[in-house]
């Protein structure tokens, strides 16, 4: 994060302004990625008019960075109408897309509207791997063609790779491909549980033992707007992340959450004004009250000052003030030092399986240890 953006983030924090919002326009998608946490259905998305009203309210509330995501954003027939309206309100707009519907004409329009960056999901440089993850034959070529169209318009394009068992061998290939095309790339080993709480998708996550090597070779993605905010010299007073502090997430149905990865409902913009949810929701204020010193287990952890603990992943594990196991594994991979949570689990596991020998008086016939 640039120094100025950091400064602005601290100012927004002080003024209680949601500097950055991700708005998912739809959960519908034209790919069926095996690791996706969404259900791809439409249960009543916000209409064009509702989204425009929301954008008005967000601009009024001080939102500066607006990330439009999904689902696949281009499946909204009103996508360009929404984008144009957002730019009229002078948001800094970032797009997240698989880009397979972006051709020369769409790329030119995106440039004309002054989009800041476009993040495209690319899981491998090899079609057989990427297409097996998206379950759409030809999708890698379509996405890369779109990346070229966007790049030729002078736009900032980022290839975003999610690491999982299917593509763990290919992260260097994706990075090389991005370099060759003159694009940026990011790598994220985090798999998010399904929205309905189903955690089976986590089985796609890579073996934690592979992480140390990857961390040595690659810079792992951290969203620059969603990182921890330093609020003084005392580490334990630092905010765990910006979710609910300077950022939040709005679903296609108008539900507001602290973050896309933090499914704690805080209100709905169809029933309340965005700023009222942001300022007065009990849930949002509960999230806001958390400091590192309040975290169970984590306060005694060697990584407390450096961990990228995600409170949303912790919430999905059952306690937003608890540890996030995926981040524990990342900290361990970076340093080789197990987290307090990992040690506690190990102790717990040991207690569960350990069967101690019961001393039996020697006079008892056939006496011996049970185990």
């Amino acid at each position: 994060m640039s120094n100025l953006l950091e400064e602005m983030t601290r100012k927004a924090l002080k003024l209680n302004i949601p500097l950055s919002v991700q708005l998912d326009l739809t959960y519908r998608c034209n790919e069926r990625c095996v690791h996706c946490y969404l259900d791809h259905q439409d249960y009543g998305e916000m209409t064009t008019a509702e989204i425009k009203r929301l954008l008005d309210e967000m601009a009024e509330a001080g939102v500066f960075i607006l990330t439009l995501s999904g689902g696949e954003i281009m499946l909204r027939k009103d996508f360009f109408e929404i984008l144009e309206y957002a730019r009229q309100l002078t948001f800094c707009v970032k797009l997240k897309t698989n880009a397979i519907l972006i051709r020369e004409q769409e790329a030119a329009r995106i440039r004309e509207l002054g989009v800041e960056s476009i993040q495209i999901s690319i899981y491998s440089h090899r079609a057989e791997v990427h297409d097996a993850i998206t379950l759409v034959p030809g999708s890698l070529q379509r996405s890369l063609d779109a990346a070229s169209f966007l790049k030729s318009q002078g736009l900032r394009v980022v290839l975003a790779n999610v690491l999982m068992v299917q593509n763990v061998q290919d992260y260097q290939g994706v990075r090389a491909l991005a370099t060759e095309m003159g694009l940026e790339s990011t790598l994220d080993p985090t798999i998010t549980p399904m929205m309905d709480g189903d955690r089976s998708v986590l089985n796609l996550g890579i073996d934690p033992n592979s992480l140390p090597q990857i961390f040595r070779e690659e810079a792992i993605a951290e969203d620059e707007e969603v990182c921890a905010i330093e609020t003084g010299d005392d580490i334990l007073q630092h905010l765990p992340c910006s979710a609910g502090h300077t950022t939040c997430y709005v679903s296609p149905y108008g539900d507001v959450y602290p973050c896309v990865q933090f499914p704690l409902p805080t209100g709905n913009v169809r029933k309340q004004r965005f700023i009222d949810i942001w300022r007065h929701s009990d849930e949002m204020n509960d999230v806001r009250s958390i400091r590192l010193k309040d975290l169970n287990t984590c306060t005694s952890c060697a990584h407390v000052g450096s961990c990228s603990r995600c409170p949303g992943l912790a919430y999905m594990e059952g306690n937003m003030r608890g540890p996030s196991s995926q981040d524990c594994e990342k900290s361990f991979a970076k340093t080789g030092v197990p987290s307090a949570n990992m040690l506690a689990k190990k102790r717990g596991a040991a207690n569960l399986v350990q069967i101690r020998a019961i001393p039996v008086p020697a006079s008892v016939p056939g006496a011996g240890a049970i185990a």
Binding site: S2, L4, L5, M8, K11, A12, L15, I17, L19, A59, E60, G62, V63, F64, I65, E84, R87, Q88, L89, T90, F91, C92, V93, E112, L113, G114, E116, S117, R156
Partner: protein, 104 residues
């Protein structure tokens, strides 16, 4: 001396944060912040009001400054912002583009 017109570049992103304007360049995503006076100029840069008039109406009425000096400072600032492509300057009125709007 010919009149100078200023207009906000349609490709920038902008938002007021506690009275201070945050502007992100559409060219290279560089972030700028404008102080109070510069923010006043930015907000008033509609492409149709001459800079001289903006300075008289928005700056001189707010601050105790010499009008000639204020205009000179405003011109310098406008040219600097134009150098970063976050403001357009012209000796003719600048027509509004389709996708530019009022920054809040």
């Amino acid at each position: 001396m010919s009149k100078l017109y200023i207009a906000r570049s349609p490709r920038v992103a902008a938002r007021s944060l506690g009275g201070e304007m945050m502007i992100m360049s559409g060219r290279d995503s560089t972030l700028f912040t404008l102080n109070q006076t510069a923010s006043i100029l930015w907000r008033a840069a509609d492409g149709s009001t001459p800079l001289e008039e903006i300075v008289q109406q928005k700056i001189c009425s707010e601050f105790e400054v010499d009008p000639a000096e204020a205009l000179q400072d405003a011109e310098t600032l406008a040219r600097e912002l134009a150098g970063h492509q976050i403001l357009q300057i012209s000796e003719q009125p600048i027509p509004p583009p389709g996708a530019s709007g009022e920054a809040r």
